[in-house]
Point group: C2
Chain length 346, copies 2
Amino acid sequence: MSRQAPTLEDVAREAGVSRATVSRVVNGVRNVDPAIQELVRQAIRRTGYAPNRAARSLVTRRAEAVALVVSGAGDTSEEAQAAFAARVFADPFFGRVVAGIVGYLRPRSVHPVLMFAESAAAREEVLTYLRQGRADGALVVSSHADDPLPALLADAALPAVLFARPARPVPLSHVDLAHRDGGRLAAEHLLARGCRRPATISGPLTVPAGQERLAGFRDALARRGHTRVPVAEGGFTYDSGLAAMAGLLAEHPDVDGVFAANDLMARGACQALREHGRRVPEDVAVVGFDDSTAAVDRHPRLTTVRQPVEDMAAEMARLLDEHIHGTRTEPTSVLFDPELVVRESA
Amino acid sequence: MSRQAPTLEDVAREAGVSRATVSRVVNGVRNVDPAIQELVRQAIRRTGYAPNRAARSLVTRRAEAVALVVSGAGDTSEEAQAAFAARVFADPFFGRVVAGIVGYLRPRSVHPVLMFAESAAAREEVLTYLRQGRADGALVVSSHADDPLPALLADAALPAVLFARPARPVPLSHVDLAHRDGGRLAAEHLLARGCRRPATISGPLTVPAGQERLAGFRDALARRGHTRVPVAEGGFTYDSGLAAMAGLLAEHPDVDGVFAANDLMARGACQALREHGRRVPEDVAVVGFDDSTAAVDRHPRLTTVRQPVEDMAAEMARLLDEHIHGTRTEPTSVLFDPELVVRESA
DNA sequence: GTGAAAGCGCTAACAT
DNA sequence: ATGTTAGCGCTTTCAC
C-alpha cells in the first residue's frame, strides 16, 4: 500500500553507523556511546522506524505472544464455536481472567492471542499455532474438567499453564482456589447469622470445583451438627440456579439459608425465591461464590465467597513466563485463598 | 527446551526433494507431481513439521493476525487499564462482537490479538504493533465516541475498521446500526400495546448511538401526537438505568411505558420499577435495546430492539480483510437493520 | 515439474 | 565501543 517501511539499514545509513549499533540501541543497549545513542534515536524518529517483528522473532525464536485459549471438552461444529465464544464471554468471570492476564503481560509487552478450542480440530490448531512459534506458550481456561487439551499440550512439551486443576492429573502448572475453604466460609456465615435449615445449590459434580465447594460446605455444617443438608446440583448457569432453588423449595419449604456455588446460580436462586414469595435475606439468606460482576450489578447485592480471579490469572501468566524462559521447569500449582464478602443477601 | 523443531530443509531431505518443492506442497501447491506431493506429505507427518511463521511472515509480509482493540477516550494509569478490561468484558455486548469476529477469522486462520487502548501510551502501542507488522490491521471497538485512536490509525494509513460511526468523521471503514429505526421500532411497539405515557432512558447524548436512538423514538412518537416525551439521560450502565428510572418516576408517576437505550439500563429500570411497586409489564412496559444476554438471563425477559452484533462484527472483519488485501481501498460504511424482539417486559 | 539461489530484516558472535 | 559477517527458515524468481 504505502512505501516500504524503513529498516535497520535505513536508520543506520541515516545515522552514519552500522546496523549492529542501531540494533544495540533499539534493544537492551549494552555499551553504546551516549552521543551515538542520541544520534541513532534521532535517526529512528526521523525515519519512523519500527523493528520488523518477524525478522526479530526469526532469530530470537520468540514471538512475544501467548495464546489465551478458552477450551471445552466438546467436539462441536464450526458454528457452535461462535456460540461457545459468546457463552464464555457472557460469563463475567472471564472478564476478570482477561484483566488479570493483561495486567501482567502488558508491562512486558507480550500480547494475548485469543483462541477457542471446542473441537478436536480447534485443539489441533492450538498445538500447531504454538509449534509454528506464533505464540510462546498457552494460558488455558477450560470450561470442562475433562478437557483433552491440557494433556495434548503436556505431551507435546509445549509451555502451558492452566486455570484450575484438571480432573485427571496432567504434568502442567496451574493456579487454583482452596474451594473447600470457600464452602466452609459460606457455611459458617450462614450458621453465624442464625440459619437453622441450610441448603446448597452445588456446581456440576463432575468438576473438582463443584465437588470441593460442596464438600467444604457439608463438612463445616456436619461439624456443627447439620448432617442432612439438602443439595440440588446446578450447572453454574442462571437458569440452573433458578430451577435448583425451585426444586429445593418444593422439597424443603422451610429452608432459611442457601449457598449457591457461583453468583449466577445465586441470582437464579434469588429470582426463584422471589417468585415463591420469599424475601432475601429476611426469609432466606443467600450466599454466592466468585464475587463476579453478577454479585453487584443487581439487587440484592450478593454476599459471596470471593475468588481473587485477577490475582490468580496474573499468577498464571507469571508461571507461564517462567516456563517459557526456562527459569521454572517443574510443573507447579499455586493455591489461592477465598474470602467472604458480606453484602445484602446474607 | 526440546530438540530443534524440524525445518523445511529436514522435510526436504527426508522426502528426497528440494526445499522449494516442499514449500510448494505446504502452500498453495501449483503444479507438483501428485506422487511427489504424497511423498512430501508423509515426510511432513514423520518429521512433525510445522512451518515457522516468523520466517514465512518475513517474506510474505503478512502476520495473519489482526489486532482486536478495545479503546476508550481516557488517559488512565496502568492499573486502571485492568479495570477497563474487566468492565469491557462485563458488558455482554462484547462477547457477541468477539463471537462474530472469530466466526469470520477462524476459517481463514487469522487470529485476533487482544489489545486495550485506554491511554495515550496504549494507543501508541497499538500503532507500533501494527507498524512492526505483528498484526495486519485493526478491528476497533470504542467505548467512547471521541476516541482518538481511529484518527491516529487513519493518519498512519494503517488498515482498520471501526464498530460504529465515530463522532467526528474519520476516513476509515465502519459498520453500524440504523439506530433511528431502532428507536422508532420501540416507540411503535409501546404505542401498539396501548401505552399513553411513554418515556425514555437515553444513552449518553455524546455518542451518536445515544442521540439517534432517542431521535428515532421521539420522531415516531411525535408523528403519533406525543410531542412532550420525558427523557432521562443514562450512561448505558445498570446503575444509571436504575437512577434514571427513579427520576422519571418522581417527575412523572403516571408513565406506563419506557424505552431504555440498552438492555443493561432496561434491567436497572425494571429494578427501580419494582422498588416503587410497579409491575412490569402490567403497570409499566419496558423495552430495551441490543438483545444482549442481559435481556434473557433474568426475569422478566426483556422485549428489546435486537442489534445483529455478530453479523456486524463479522462484516467488520470482512471489510478489514479486503482492506488488507487491497481489494477494497475506499472507506466504506455498512449499515445494519435492527429488529424488534417481543418477550415479556412489553 | 523441480531445483538452485537470492534475499526478507534482524541479532549475535566475532573481530577490531 | 563499534563494525563485519553469518545465519535464522521461509518464499520466490529464474533456470532447467
